[in-house]
């Protein structure tokens, strides 16, 4: 087991290194080959604002930072995005997993399709449009702050932060739940069609016991791995939804940095996303053991 974990860890680190170099390659392609910048990604000066005087700098004032300030900024942004991710993934894993299992259990009635249908329909609404409409509705009809940057709570319990996180998490969760129900149900239904299961049924084991003790127990590792594949999609949604809701998270940092051509901002925010994505994949691979 320990060797399995060490091996997967090694693969994860290798993947992160490859993705880091790919990210640098993409930045070089965009800014130097397709754009007209002469700040190559391999030059240290491209990452430090000291070589560019503020008046001619490509960095806006709020992104001219020292190394320590960059890390503090990233920490703040990670906290904001972390709340959103926590809510979204919690909703996806609890609802998606339980309803997927229920759908597979009642597979003869095609329940998984009906359970995922409302979520699939809601997922067709563009997420950025949803958060903007909620912000407008919130402002006009409920006389509450609309976008995430409209009001900052200085004292007292900061419930508004969680409300804002919930608004951004909702479109992510809806799409994720729809996908997760179908993915879990499909995996379990495929396992339920395996010929070895007939042996237990012939022996007199009932359908319910067979499902929970044999099929689900056997596929739980694979289902954890399936669940980990939703994380990159959620992170992708953050990049679109956070700027739309004017929420100061890692996704917003990436878009702001891209607009400002700030290499440190792009690199740090992208690397944060990649680390989360690789970590989620590592968790899935560690738990997954093919029976």
């Amino acid at each position: 087991m320990i060797w399995h974990v060490v091996y997967r860890l090694f693969v994860a680190v290798l993947r992160l290194v490859v993705l880091g170099f790919a990210l640098l390659g993409l930045m070089e392609l965009t800014y130097c080959l397709l754009g007209d910048s002469d700040r190559h990604v391999w030059l240290w000066d491209s990452y430090t604002p000291s070589s560019n005087p503020p008046e001619t700098s490509l960095f806006p004032n709020d992104l001219i930072r020292t190394k320590a300030a960059w890390l503090a900024l990233l920490q703040d942004r990670c906290l904001v995005s972390g709340r959103v991710l926590l809510l979204a993934l919690l909703a996806i894993y609890t609802t998606g997993f339980s309803w997927g299992v229920l759908g597979a259990r009642l597979r003869r009635f095609h329940v998984a399709r009906f359970l995922s249908l409302p979520f699939s329909a809601l997922a067709c609404v563009p997420g950025f449009c949803f958060v903007v409409i909620v912000a407008v509705g919130s402002y006009f009809y409920w006389q509450r702050p609309g976008f995430a940057d409209d009001l900052i709570i200085a004292n007292g319990p900061d419930i508004l932060t969680w409300w804002n996180a919930a608004i951004v998490a909702l479109p992510m969760a809806v799409g994720g739940i729809a996908w997760h129900i179908r993915a879990v149900a499909t995996d379990l239904e495929r396992e339920a069609r395996q010929p070895w299961l007939r042996g237990f049924l012939i022996e007199g084991e009932n359908d319910e016991t067979c499902f929970y003790r044999r099929i689900l127990a056997r596929r739980i590792g694979a289902l954890i791995q399936v669940s980990s594949t939703i994380v990159p999609s959620c992170l992708g949604a953050l990049i679109i939804l956070e700027p739309a809701f004017r929420m100061k998270g890692v996704g917003s940092l990436l878009v702001e940095s891209i607009r400002a051509a700030s290499y440190p901002g792009i690199f740090l925010s992208s690397l944060t996303f990649l680390v989360i994505s690789v970590a989620a994949s590592l968790m899935g691979e560690v738990f997954h053991t093919e029976p």
Binding site: V125, P126, V136
Partner: protein, 291 residues
């Protein structure tokens, strides 16, 4: 007594039987054609017309939704229903081209890798695809479109990114066919590789690939709209850009923001339903990526 039917009657019976067998496949393009005709009726919207819709006037000619204009009118008095439909056509066209290009690229790469006798290439590319799938798709695209983002670059980016999720199932389908009995027999009988590929391998894989591409189309439309919303694809008319411009008038004319979103949701929902139908008929066996 001679009970043999005449030739034309037999031919008619054969055609009827054939049509009943392929009725689902024959009906499949009809909703796509109808949606295409509805969207593209009247041609695409010019950039100047689009810019005039959101020009700031002292006395704007906009009207709230009424019986005459279901979605209301823009600042220059242009009907928003018609404008949303025409910009949506542009988004669907772009997403369609990207998906088709990506699918073709995935098929080409997978064929080269799978039919290659060196097994190491296949394993290497499979590992690379697994690593590539950890990258959130919008992350790569927002960086790629950071400088002078335009439609051509967006199409290339989306096409390349669709290769990764499509290549894995394609690899499995092609392997299934390659190791099947009839293909092995043909190879032993001395048929040429090209003939086997053209007559036996591609027709089956091609149908399933179409089904898989159909499930990816709505996700690509959503992605295109999201990137347009972030102003990363230039000033090309798009629903995402309509919503982005509509935000400037959200207090005076909120319908400029809300109704294009409604239209986008309806079109994406229609494409999703058609995608599921196509995937089930063409037996692609793939889950829709997000919606």
């Amino acid at each position: 007594m001679n009970r043999r039917q005449n030739h034309s009657l037999r031919l008619l019976r054969r055609i009827a039987l054939r049509l009943s067998l392929i009725r689902s496949r024959a009906l499949l393009p009809i909703p796509y054609i109808l949606l295409g005709i509805w969207l593209f009726w009247g041609g695409e919207m010019g950039r100047d017309d689009f810019a005039q819709m959101y020009e700031f006037h002292d006395s704007p000619a906009w009207k709230a939704p009424n019986a005459e204009h279901l979605f209301g009118t823009a600042a220059n008095g242009a009907d928003l229903w018609s404008a949303s439909r025409r910009t949506m056509a542009s988004s669907v066209l772009l997403a369609g081209i990207s998906t088709a290009l990506g699918a073709a690229l995935a098929l080409l790469i997978t064929l080269i890798v799978t039919l290659d006798s060196k097994h190491q290439t296949s394993r290497f590319l499979e590992g690379l695809a697994k690593t590539g799938r950890l990258v959130p798709v919008p992350l790569a695209l927002v960086i790629l479109l950071a400088t002078n983002g335009n439609a051509a670059r967006l199409i290339c980016g989306m096409a390349i990114l669709i290769v990764l999720p499509l290549s894995s199932p394609l690899h499995v389908w092609i392997r299934q066919r390659v190791v099947s009995f009839d293909l092995k027999a043909e190879r032993i009988l001395g048929f040429r590789h090209v003939d086997i590929l053209r007559r036996h391998l591609l027709p089956t894989v091609w149908a399933r690939l179409l089904g898989a591409s159909a499930t990816y189309l709505p996700a690509m439309v959503l992605l295109e709209m999201a990137l347009s919303y972030l102003n990363l694809v230039g000033q090309r008319p798009s629903v995402g850009l309509m919503i982005s411009h509509g935000e400037e008038f959200l207090i005076e004319a909120p319908w400029l923001l809300i109704y294009p979103g409604v239209m986008a949701s309806a079109v994406v929902m229609a494409l999703s339903l058609m995608g599921w139908w196509a995937a089930s008929i063409l037996r692609s066996g793939l889950q829709a990526p997000f919606p």
